[in-house]
Symmetry: C3
């Protein structure tokens, strides 16, 4: 369990590099990421390469025992290249080019850009193929950032036609699968199918879904190009990519298939402002929302069997969210522990030193722009010292949360209510699991499920027979399955299935969806569950139970009869619960609590917002994302790795505001005083 | 009084058609609309026509005694046509083309598209010219939907210049009428006048108004092309078009001149969300706002002397509004009755069966997508049975509400306050009339007015001498005229008249407008009327009475003297009231109540929101758009066609939540218990 | 102290001109502005000039003793010119042209348009070179209105490259000064630098700042072209321009260097709605916010040593704000007095008569569109009579408020919080000064400061050594300097300085900025100042005092230790106070009150909002922007030029709602009863 940092030596005078390296080593830093965005300094004009500075920087760092992760610098092609080959630029939906000037303006399908990528990546890989300090690579940077997965240029149009031809073989098949008779949308040929450009009303949902798949596959292909070039030169290197948080358009499951290490970039005080529905509290502005953060940890940890890192960890205040509060005292240390508890083997802070020029001057580093230590440096040093003593195995989660990006894309193109957000809906269930201290693997629905005591699937919107069989097998083997609203609504082409919802799952569920409806936030929605009233929001289904038992009924006014809202089916050796609403937090806590009990999963009582516990390999991390100190009761004599025990016998542990404790016990041994 | 349905046999396997037809017949359905959006299946490639399926579908339906309405399929040209002749595409204001992919992307002025239209419509008309089951046609579909009346392409630019040359003869006349000396906007020629493309500040209001007129005339011409082609082949057919609700950009009065039957598409739970200012209540989400709905019935009924239908009636939940609540139990039946009460002779539900593919999968049909009966089917069957027994003459309304689309366009281009919405303002008066059970004809200002006891003109903004004389004659003949704010502000070129407002009407009104002003919603505005305080909103005029009496004075702070706000003039044998504010509901109820009394119009007390009564040919429909049951008092022995009498002597009638009653009496005989 | 009017004789029949001139003279009007927007009537086709109408209009006005100000008519080139040379059009950021149809659609860098400008301005200047009635010129109209300072066309792209080459000499220097290593943004040549067109993320802040400077310089150059052409013909004429209120993109200091007279266009009821953060009160809707208005008076008065006028004064209701309330009774008179109190030597109302055609029909004039006198005419006449008796010297302000447009641009491109508005922040300090009746010069930071008792610099964001020395010298000479947040954050290239903030000012301040942070409005922010709690907003700095004393500490929760928020340094012979927050009004009043006391500036107690006093040359204007009458105590026997004394001994003066008093005394002699 270790710490690292992202470093840009090319921004600073050569004479600072030694003291930087020394300061890193003193902080206990192990990994240093280099060369991101460096194309223009590596190749200032075509064919004229300048690698000396990078050779030297690696040498200086290596001399301090630091390990180097290099980046392919393709996120920012130099201006001379763009001027030479302007056809590499992406186009917006209305055809406006995305010009040079920031980053990520290249098209993933541009043959010209793939050629240039091959050239620079090969050259770099060869240069450092046998460098002993270089341990691995990051491909490009944050694929898809700034809404760049989807491009509408001519290269994309041609590639889309090819992609469709590959998928459907004949245009008749496409017309049939999509259902293009509707509104005379039949296509005479694959060439005739264009990307979804501006048109008076909505585009065909099957076109949209396939376009989103195609755009995603373009990134997957482009990433694979990097991975292959790098592995050709040295197959000991790991190949990683740094994904982003709460990110819809790129299927991390698909990209991860070509990676040896999965990482993401964690900025808690930014994401809580711009990628979550609610207004943040002051505590959240200072430390983030722990569930939002760990949901990304658990997602990226679950993309494949590879190790998991945080490649960029927020080091202090950042520049890009709406507002830029200072993190709470100690928050930078807290985040490193929190990531470790959720499976990270290394946490690299971004960046070493605040930048003097360019777009990120208002983004802190571990060091201030004048070179002195900033708040993050002290926090990172403390985290490094504390984590150095801990060597823990991978997270072993009892619960799986099923997630498929294609469902997200399908729902987003037909939300059916302005505030039906697929990810927020998923988070409702995730939050209820985490509030009870349960570790969760967020995995693809077709992952092997046999080891999970409970599987929660908030919305498996696109349902195939194969997927339904997979879930059915799980329940037949004694599994407990909790399904949420909008499940089984469509086939994989984004059409309605022949039968009623949940389509291929109806037998397993023992009920069908009689009606569905959605509401604005101004309307109060409620149901009765086990004799108590609870609120729900946005979405409602009227269920029609066949074999299943009614667990909750709608009590919202305006229709004459009570309608079933939640049903439970004791199916085969397991159980299936289907929740036909988007539950508010209290209802979610009740539903999830009942499901955990049925499945026999160990858990805590519902913890207050901002306080979270997580177990990894016999160690429990208690992470306090609030500005109030907390005292915990633990079994007498519990070993306390991090944090202070109030008593000699170690039966209570104090956790500071924005603080952390690591104790050796089971998660349900911990209680808030 | 009858029921119908919109059907797309081409979406479903041939083997389902017979059972569909049988189910329709069993529901009591009389009319079936076919072939909308079917061009790509009728002509899958240029010149290759496939009519067999349609022949057969008509045959199957005809065999069940169903009457067929066909559609010209021009709202959705096929992809092969667009690829061959891309010049048919519309252009947005900034020149971005509106691409293939949804519908309505063709330009009304494209010579190429008119040629193609002629070709397909002629071919279809000839094919079915003597088919005994085909009783009439719908031209295209919802002209102007998705903001497509106004196009900015090169064909439109050329056509606009021609249109202006036709209207003004010389460019000097145009310059003089518009007043182009302002900001150096003089045009050297008709060719030099462009559509209003992006420019730093507002465009000239006279240019805008003429551009809106031109764009409207383009649709009128295009519709006439269809009507002429159809009538050439068979002049027994009716030619209809299906208009939309609360729709600004297309002048239904002008289009209707070429129609034999006027229809519109009524979606109460959608319109209440996206075409009205206020947030809807839960009851309104479940059944709509009855006044919003009937205002469209009364508008389209009043476009000309033709019969009136609802061509598309919401059948359940729909896909396109912000949210998609389920209608209240029985609401689909309620809407059919409500339409009938307001003059509809037939109500066709849209659509027969929920679609499996394409943009409208989330739009209900009378049947579910698996073929089973949905809620709407039961409601439609009941409505069909109930209406089958009723044969009533046309609505005979005592009050006319004057409306001219050109006024709407002029106000919209210079609203002078963000929330001055012409249509919402009109609805304030309409609502006050309907709250008292009064039937209203919404008619063009130059309609014959002699049969109306009261004429309400909320905003006749563009005033000519001819129009002023027409109103003056009405009052001279003993008519009662209620005028609202912003009347007589402009001449027909959208310029100020020589004299003060209300310009040519000043003599009749006996007052002029001294000042006008507008306010944000955050400011409280009030006046004194007959000794009581009332609120108004948005707009205020300070009136300067000459012969007229002051009826109300402003009491809003910030100016030193009280100013006249409403005046009344006993002119000739009638009266004129001029209301210099936009009244809030309570004030509107008082003003309209006084006007009805003066005019001797029979009415009820003010009914609660959501409960409405309407008389047609001696029958009173009581329609309950709320989730509360209601009991009515009626004269003893009143015949009750629909609804249940609580007593044997028929002196009270119960109306269910979202229910309806039809009783034989006068509207003022009905009272809420 | 005099009155004028803007007149468009070309809009009205020739036979009205004499009565117009007579009515002007009767009102006491001295100046008449003519020929704005008149190009199409002066040159209806290329080379065909029609000057007769203008000759005659000047003659008619001159005959009444009126003095004429002419305008170069370049804000609206005629359509024939645009059609001939379409390359003169501006382009939006995405390349969309700004078309003919309103005004200001030409590009300042178009060589073609500079040629045409030379042609028309020379011709006009020659025509009126020796006309005895023409006393001066206005160049063009409201440069930059409708967001037109910044254009993205190809002419601008080329000119920008030239401008950069001129500034930086070599591309290496540009790359180094900007810091283009960041994100590989190095430029290979000046030609390669494009205007900031659409790109996925933010543009480089140094590019943005230089682009804004370049765009500004383009306007300065274009204005200079006019000034030079006019002065060549007659160097007795004054050359003026009419600036706009609260206007960011154009540096009035730079443009004013080429002007003999600085003017602006004052529309109080419009600006209070669309150029201020808060919702206006009803009183503000009727008269505006006096501090917002006078802040512009003080800004334009301070651009150079030239005289200062209001070129366009709101005459009644106006058409362009969101809503258009009527001004309070007397407000048009109030505004003329208020402008005079703040240094205006003439106030010209816009316009003479309400226009019948075109975009401004809803904009009042002093006369109604039917020719009769409107409310403004009576107010203007009264103001003219009252001001005619007053002949006062220039304003002598004890306090300077420092402002540099380049700071505004830098902050706007990186606000770091959605509601950090540079101008609103400046206004916080300005308002606190004006609430105590203090006159303020708003001046460029490099102005000579020696005559000011107190200098307030709310945000000197871009700090050079020279500027720091200038401020240091001021303090060394005994000056008192009040600095606000975000001062000294950047160098003049918009990069961070080597040292910590406030960079070059740190020594003078005796402290550095340890951290900065920003917050959404939903969070409560507070500090302790002299033992009392106060609120602040949006922005916070944690200060690190070296020699300075801590005056206030943050008390906002979420970090463990109190942090210094405001410090004071007794430096050399003066003092420096640094305020590390954006204070709310109460805190600003306290800080400014303390600063005034330290500096020994005479002031009143804090006056209520809407009531303001201002001294000019021994006369105190009391201006009441509220609908409540006010009574003032003044020293016994105070001469009262305007306003009514309640007592014979002149020791109280009544001020009407929206009224004014002018008394001869010191500002601190006046107190509200």
């Amino acid at each position: 369990m270790t710490i690292g940092v992202c470093y840009f030596p090319e921004h600073w005078p050569r004479e600072q590099w030694e003291s930087d390296a020394t300061n890193m080593a003193e902080a206990g830093i192990e990994y240093v990421r280099l060369a991101e965005f460096s194309w223009a300094v590596l190749e200032p004009e075509r064919g004229h390469f300048e690698f000396d500075w990078l050779d030297e920087a690696i040498e200086v760092l290596g001399a301090q025992g630091l390990k180097v992760v290099l980046c392919t610098p393709t996120a920012t092609p130099p201006k001379w290249l763009v001027d030479e080959r302007p056809e590499i630029l992406q186009a917006d939906i209305d055809g406006t080019p995305r010009h040079f000037g920031s980053r990520r303006f290249y098209c993933f399908n541009s043959p010209a850009y793939r050629e240039e990528t091959d050239r620079i990546v090969s050259r770099l890989a060869e240069r450092y193929g046998d460098n002993p300090h270089v341990v691995g690579w990051q491909t490009d940077n944050e694929f898809g950032c700034h809404r760049t997965v989807r491009c509408y240029c001519e290269d994309c149009s041609a590639a889309f036609s090819d992609w469709l031809a590959e998928k459907y073989d004949t245009i008749e098949t496409l017309n049939e699968r999509w259902g293009t008779t509707f509104w005379s949308q039949r296509y005479p040929s694959f060439e005739a199918v264009d990307p979804p450009q501006p048109t008076p009303a909505d585009h065909h949902p099957s076109l949209l879904l396939d376009y989103y798949r195609f755009a995603n596959d373009s990134v997957v292909d482009y990433n694979r190009l990097h991975a292959n070039l790098l592995r050709e030169v040295n197959d000991e290197w790991f190949v990683a990519h740094n994904f982003m948080g709460d990110f819809e358009t790129l299927d991390a499951h698909a990209v991860a298939d070509d990676l040896d290490l999965v990482t993401w970039d964690s900025y808690p005080t930014g994401f809580v402002q711009d990628r979550r529905e609610d207004d943040p509290t002051l505590d959240e502005l200072r430390a983030g929302d722990p569930d939002q953060v760990s949901m990304n940890h658990d997602l990226y940890r679950g993309t494949n069997d590879a190790p998991f890192w945080v490649m960029e960890q927020q080091p202090g205040d950042v520049n890009w969210p709406p507002t830029c509060p200072q993190p709470g005292d100690g928050a930078m240390r807290l985040w490193a522990h929190h990531a470790t508890a959720h499976g990270a083997d290394a946490v690299l802070y971004f960046r070493w030193r605040r930048c003097r020029g360019g777009q990120e001057q208002y983004h802190a580093g571990l060091r201030k722009h004048d070179g002195s230590a900033d708040r993050g440096y002290h926090d990172a040093s403390q985290a490094a010292a504390e984590l150095d003593g801990l060597d823990v195995a991978h997270v072993d989660a009892p619960v799986a949360l099923l997630h498929d990006y294609h469902d997200w894309w399908a729902i987003s193109s037909q939300p059916h209510a302005p505030d039906f957000d697929y990810w927020e809906h998923l988070r409702t269930y995730y939050r209820a699991l985490r509030a009870r201290g349960v570790q969760v693997d967020i995995v693809h629905p077709e992952t092997s499920l046999e080891d999970y005591a409970l599987v929660v699937a908030p919305t498996l919107h696109l349902m195939s027979e194969e997927r339904a069989d997979h879930l059915s097998d799980y329940v037949s083997d004694g599994g407990h399955l909790l399904l949420g609203a909008r499940t089984g609504y469509k086939d994989s082409y984004n059409r309605l299935p022949d039968a009623r919802q949940p389509g291929a799952l109806s037998n397993l569920v023992g009920a069908t969806v009689d009606q569905h409806e959605s509401f604005p936030a101004s309307v109060d929605l409620s149901l009765m569950y086990d004799g108590d009233a609870y609120d729900y929001r946005t979405w409602s289904e009227w269920l029609n139970p066949d074999e299943a038992d009614v667990v909750a009924e709608h009590t919202t006014a305006g229709v004459t009869e009570a309608k079933p809202a939640i049903i439970r089916n004791e199916a085969r050796r397991g159980t299936v619960t289907y929740v036909g609403v988007w539950p508010e937090a209290e209802l979610a806590n009740t539903i999830v609590g009942d499901a955990l009990q049925t499945a026999g999963v160990t858990s805590t009582d519902v913890l207050p917002d901002g306080l979270r516990v997580a177990e990894r390999d016999g160690h429990v991390w208690v992470t306090n994302f609030t500005s109030d100190a907390v005292t915990l009761d633990v079994p007498q004599g519990t070993p306390c790795h991090v944090g202070e025990s109030k008593t000699e016998r170690n039966d209570t542990v104090d956790v500071d505001p924005f603080g952390v404790a690591v104790v050796e016990c089971r998660v349900d041994d911990v209680a808030v005083e």
